[in-house]
Subunit: 655 residues, 3 copies
């Protein structure tokens, strides 16, 4: 069982020191356990080169410690101070237009600049040495939101040289690179690694294989940057969990890969900001503007649980209106509590609100906190108090168990289809998320997983839409795992070198479903292909040639196969609308021996360890009785108010 | 009383000299009094460095003078010639992308380049010495449309150095600047003024306080640039009015501040171009495409009357289709007359049409003039003839008197909310203009005013929506002025340093209405908050905590206060739609003892000195009888045709 | 008569040499006659500076030759290899933002860079010497798609110097240039040719005369670049046709001018890609998404037939989905055959499919070919087989004869109105194409022609909408040609120096229709001017003053003349909608003694040499009987299926 904890993000350097103690007291009073501090504070920790001022941070830690709060210490490397930029101006990242990214906000550094990475190692060492064994320090956060504001890729000279070296290591000789990239096309052949440029400012699109390698490189640079910090912290701060706070709908580097160096993953959950930023239509955004997309939070909880190999936090939880959406509505009453419960139900160890007190100055002054700028409590405080009561009612939460259903999410696939969408609105994230939504509508509890052998063991249903270039070990694992499998569209449609497989898509996945994809098409908005009366394909459609071992399960009105099957494996030849996806899922569930529900719009559930959690994202009260079964309420009752949360437990599981 | 005058803009250098005399004769014949010449002519006045050719201008002035026309002489500094750019290439402004703005159109100079400002002083001195005392010269225009084409702000090295000096003068020591800007946030602290960069090309948004100071600086630079010219002209051309021609819907520098150095303000009124460029919806633009927004002209007349401290002109009046709108329709028959009357009714001393003859060449060749390129009269000539007859019927116009209603328009607020809109469509100009529209619909005559103590004396109603950071002297004046006051939304929500007031918004304005704003939200298009059945908030909404001295006058359906009141002061907690704004105004008028009308769409009035002017912007004839009262027509009759103008006078006032 | 030939584009360097022979055999088997090879292969032909490897190309040619295929040899100058860019980095073109266009795709060269043009002469000489007299080589293609990806104009230093020289040659002395451009406006006067800049990065729009000269210069540079290759090829490869493959809806250089150096024109026909890229509305795009715009192909066939002075090819014919549209649907079954027939009916000598086998790598891997990447036949193979049978049924095709109807298309006009649209959606191409559509709806066979005297001889109807600045010789030819003529809108509205004619538009065209244009206006979407009940003007409208020799044929509801006439010449005073254009055409046809049809939507015809070709672009079968007359079917029957093609011959013409 897990004892969920609440936490908060705090910037002691923003406030007079004489206010710290009272802040700590009130945090504790509210029920918080941990406080994240320190990230962004470089200019206060080292006001001039080599001049350290760590005492204030020491005092802040003591104050929090004395109040009974644990400290999550952030490294300040997301905000290199002005003197450091002055010392090495070429540490600035360059944007895709070739312009240095100026000092004056944050994340203005290039992952590939060795001077800067050395400075980071130095400051992290100083902090870890000084605070690493402090009893208050329970965990570390490296840097902050790697990649935020489009900062994974840099087009600086430092990045160019590092990319050339990366290519040399990967491809070994330039002829191999030319073959892998297909550089014979358009006379793009190179004769030496130092001729490689970065894939930008070309007349028309650069070679997709070139871009993909650049994205792999950029991801690797972020991972290496993080690893260097982790190694230092591990040396000086044994026993403390090391985390990083990832973001939502963000895939610019391999989060599984980076997380391998961490003890737990974390992400920053801003349901309203992310909804506004999404590609959903205006009607959807208006409907959920105060509560967020009913599936977005859960998807990321499941994703980052995978990244953290079961251990994960919400490092920043939206507690009020934010400042960075195109529009920034206030959360509905109850929404903060709802979001907190969704996280705990999905196995979060900690939910940390961002931030303690709204800052009256600088870029985020319109971002609400738990306190108003004048220290009065803001609305979220009441919701947190209610969460504390809920937790008392519910007792410890069951640990998350392996889900029957696994949905593959693969970063490389996201890069590949962003590089080559073929239709303007083809988004890998949206494709996977559409499948996830359907699973949630059916009431499933889901593990989001990487395309790795271990991830598919002991499942009953595995779904891998849009999987770019599955590796042999993963294909072999799928072949032997015994689960029902859904592949397509675009699954297996490329080799790792971004080439079409010699035997056509789905390449090695043909061993699972005996089909060949002979033609694909992207469909403009409004263009649809009807799949009988089961629904339609939109956005994307494929034409299949069925081998002898495959049969058509569904057909389009023009007679083409829409869903093919070989034994327990299915291939879906297009991007389904909601209705079609539901229909496909019903077949899959049936084949897998799973039971699907039909949840009303806005109602969502999660089952874990004998408990069923209910969440009402809709504007009206929901009747839970059809979905209650033999369970009894630990929290809530039959009718669930808007933004309401309920927890029911099977009588068997009840203690 | 004022004798309104007509004028025209003329470019003798564009035409063979033997045509000047005939042009002058026809101008006079048409009834024009003044001619603006000379701006843009630098390459003819000084064809090479230090080589002057002023004789042609002398001859042009003589020709106009002999025809009985007064001359408004423009300084040519908006168009530095090619040889000057060649001599000092770094005089070019740089755009926000960091690129020098090339020679080949106009306004390519940086206000902060000391070499260029010296050149300007030189050419202005030469012109003022030569022509300053010529009896034909009745007035001067400095430069042309400061800021047009986004040219107030320059990101050049010259601007950077000047901004650093400006910051040093303002903040004195760098620690003070760090505190004022809140640079502790994201480690943005600086250790010296020469570390300050210009707020562009940052990874994410720069510090709003940084940007606001940069906008203040940029505004100051424009003002200083203008002042230098004014001082020279005053020295050499005593007794002549000095003006500048401002623009519509343009707020990139402080027009009140710049106008302090002028004798009168002027603006360039292009009703159709500005309508097309506005954010109004397509239905509105289509409805008014040939006549312009019914309130846009009046708003600017009222604004620039304030800038000119009562004295103002229309320096350029659209006489036909222009060339710079996304689409450029022809004005409706009568529209040019309508616009001319609107200006005179609002106190314009001069309305000057742009331009005399349509140029057949270069960038503005599709901009119509009073004459066709072949010198035949264009449609506007007939309208001007009719205006001359109207003026004969009406006699001199009453001088504008102090209006009962004052609407605050503040440039700094415009900058602040452009920097921090918090919702994508939050525009200070639109907010103030929405209030202005409602006042016009109610038939009010309005003074647009700066947030200064003098401006609010002797009023019955003062409105200050969105006022960013009111200064103490202004708040004190509001407290004691005795008028009914409307504040909010966002009024008083920041300090001058762009920080949230320590006691929450509306900061010092709480002395007027006893409320605190605890939360704000921006609302996406389509999202509304119903205020009972009085209308809705859209775009923006605030949550108020009422102090003991405040009461809720209107409530939202969720129970939150929408309109709060403390005695005669009101706080409006959101952006009202048309219906709600009308309802709020009715309350305010009632409290202020004012009478509001309900004018039909498209009909507008202005009362001045016993006269009521009627303007019909609608597509159908309007019945004036309900709004005539005890007045008798000086011009027009009961039914007012589309584009029609009528003037009626109270019997008492009738001579 | 013409024996139409089929061909294909092939890249032997992309495939193992041992596959070439089988490829050639299958090409022949499919009925193909020619194979285009070699363009883009520079890095294989000259892998390092001065190191040639031409043997593989020799072997490829031999293989094709032995299979009975003719070879069209491309010069590889569209893809300068990496070593060449490294040798002379300033050969890179610069984009309008002033940034060098990087290596890594194609067309990264500047037409004005003398070093690069020398390199091109060298490689072309090498190829022409080696292969020019090979019996397999039947034709050459210079470079590839000049101007693709916006590459006609370069803003590089090399281009700047070349433009200055071009201006000096054209204008002779700088005072003349100042006068021609009207540089007195805004003090833009220059004192020497080396002061001329390129027209970009100016504060507001640059002088239209400046831009027009720059576009003329840029066009001239492309023509000169091509001519240099042509001269070399002619010297070393006598008797072979030299072609270039132009594009659709592309007008950035003078295609008539460049074609004068060629033996035949060719264009690359991608009906689905071009439809998606067009400005047509979503409903139209959805309706025709799998078959293409019913008139787009025919328009370009007629245009490039004019460029090639009767001789023309389709060099690249879309055979499946492409990769470069915003969305890329698959063609409807039958569409490839339909497109092929449209081309042959319009006189194409060759239709060449792009490409033989879909490449599995690099930028165009999603572009379908005749074969799948695994060498299996793709859908188009079946259609080609059917085309071969059709050709057998139809026998040789009649040569195209001079059409009664000539529609003027002028590149300079396209540049002029792109420079000065005056209304955001004014497109010369769209204007001419709207007229073309109406002619097609009326069943006319059309010659698209340049504004040159020869082009208008022996016509019955000539249409010249939007003709910018007609030269005297053309006006004189129109005066004496005896045909019915349609001019306007905007026809003759400028001089060659981009100035309004001294006697107003339509300038010299007034000799044809006795009108003056006193005013024009552009109309926002939704704004219309009704022309009685015949239809409306949208987008653009003019006000005419009629001279004594003109009469109003149609009037707008406001009484203004919409269609004026002087004898056989008409002037249309606006942009007509479909209904109005049809009504105008009926009058013109009647005056010209032509018979117009009213074809149902989607059905199109072409008459040539006694044959009538039918094409059904619609989704339903079309009844041909109303349009059959006394003809008998050579191909097809009364009811024409969707994508169907029929050919009928008059009994007289039947052999």
């Amino acid at each position: 069982m897990i004892e969920p904890k609440l936490a908060v993000c705090y910037y002691p350097e923003h406030w007079p020191e004489d206010r710290w103690r009272e802040d700590a007291r009130r945090m504790r009073e509210l029920g918080l356990s941990f406080v994240r501090i320190g990230e962004f504070a470089w200019s206060r920790l080292e006001p001039a080169e080599g001049v350290y001022d760590l005492d204030w941070l020491q005092r802040a830690i003591e104050v929090l410690h004395e109040a009974g709060l644990g400290v999550v210490l952030g490294t300040p490397t997301a905000t290199p101070p002005r003197w450091l930029v002055g010392k090495m101006p070429d540490m600035l990242a360059q944007d895709k237009e070739g312009r240095p990214r100026a000092f004056g906000s944050r994340r203005h550094y290039c992952f590939s600049h060795e001077g800067y990475t050395g400075e980071c190692a130095r400051i992290v060492t100083v902090l870890a040495e000084r605070f690493g064994r402090h009893p208050a320090v329970v965990a570390w956060q490296t840097d902050n939101e790697y990649g935020c504001h489009d900062t994974v890729e840099s087009y600086s000279p430092a990045a160019r040289v590092a990319f050339q070296k990366w290519c040399a290591r990967k491809h070994n000789d330039i002829a191999a690179l030319n073959r892998a990239w297909g550089n014979v096309f358009w006379s793009m052949e190179l004769s030496a690694f130092d001729e490689i440029g970065l894939p930008h400012l070309t007349v028309t699109e650069p070679n997709p294989a070139h871009v993909l390698d650049f994205r792999r490189f950029s991801s690797d640079q972020a991972i290496a940057f993080n690893r260097r910090q982790v190694e230092i912290i591990r040396r000086f701060s044994p026993g403390r969990a090391i985390l990083h706070n990832f973001m939502g709908a963000f895939d610019a580097f391999d989060h599984y890969g980076l997380s391998k160096d961490l003890d737990a993953a974390a992400w920053d959950s801003y349901p309203l900001g992310f909804l506004e930023r999404s590609r959903r239509d205006d009607a959807f955004k208006s409907r959920y503007m105060r509560v967020g997309d009913p599936d977005f939070q859960a998807f990321h909880h499941d994703l980052y649980r995978a990244c953290g190999r079961g251990r994960w936090w919400v490092m920043e939880q939206q507690p009020g209106a934010v400042n960075w959406g195109a529009w920034n509505p206030a959360p509905a009453p109850g929404a903060v509590r709802l979001w907190t419960h969704e996280a705990f139900a999905a196995g979060a160890e900690v939910v940390s609100y961002f931030r303690w007190r709204q800052a009256p100055f600088a870029q985020e002054q319109m971002h609400e906190g738990l306190l108003l700028p004048n220290s009065e409590p803001n609305a979220a405080c009441g919701e947190i108090a209610r969460v504390m009561r809920d937790l008392a009612s519910c007792g410890p939460f069951p640990k998350t168990s392996r889900a029957d259903v696994a949905l593959v999410f693969d970063y490389e696939s996201a890069w590949a289809w962003a590089i080559q969408p073929q239709g303007r609105d083809f988004s890998y994230f949206d494709l996977v998320f559409d499948v996830y939504r359907a699973l949630r509508r059916a009431g499933a509890s889901i593990d989001v997983v990487p395309p790795e052998p271990d991830a598919v063991k002991d499942r009953r249903l595995i779904l891998a839409p849009g999987l770019f270039a599955p590796r042999e070990s993963f294909v072999a694992a799928l072949e032997t795992c015994g689960a029902v499998i859904l592949l397509g569209p675009r699954a297996g449609s490329k080799t790792v070198d971004f080439q079409i497989p010699p035997d056509l898509p789905p390449g090695p996945l043909r061993r699972l479903v005996d089909v060949s994809v002979t033609r694909v098409e992207s469909l403009r908005p409004g263009a649809e292909v009807a799949i009988g009366d089961a629904g339609v394909f939109h956005r994307w459609r494929e034409f299949l040639k069925l081998g002898g071992a495959a049969a058509a399960e569904l057909r389009a009105v023009d007679g083409e196969t829409a869903l093919a099957r070989s034994e327990n494996a299915f291939y879906l030849a297009g991007w389904p609308d909601e209705r079609l996806m539901d229909a496909v899922l019903r077949r899959l569930f049936e084949s897998a021996g799973l039971t699907g529900l039909r949840l009303p719009e806005g109602l969502r559930i999660r089952d874990e360890g004998g408990r069923r959690h209910f969440f009402n994202y809709g504007p009206d009260a929901a009747d839970l009785r059809p979905f209650l079964g033999e369970r009894a309420f630990l929290l809530g009752e039959d009718m669930l108010e808007p933004c309401g949360v309920a927890v029911a437990e099977t009588r068997a599981a009840a203690k």
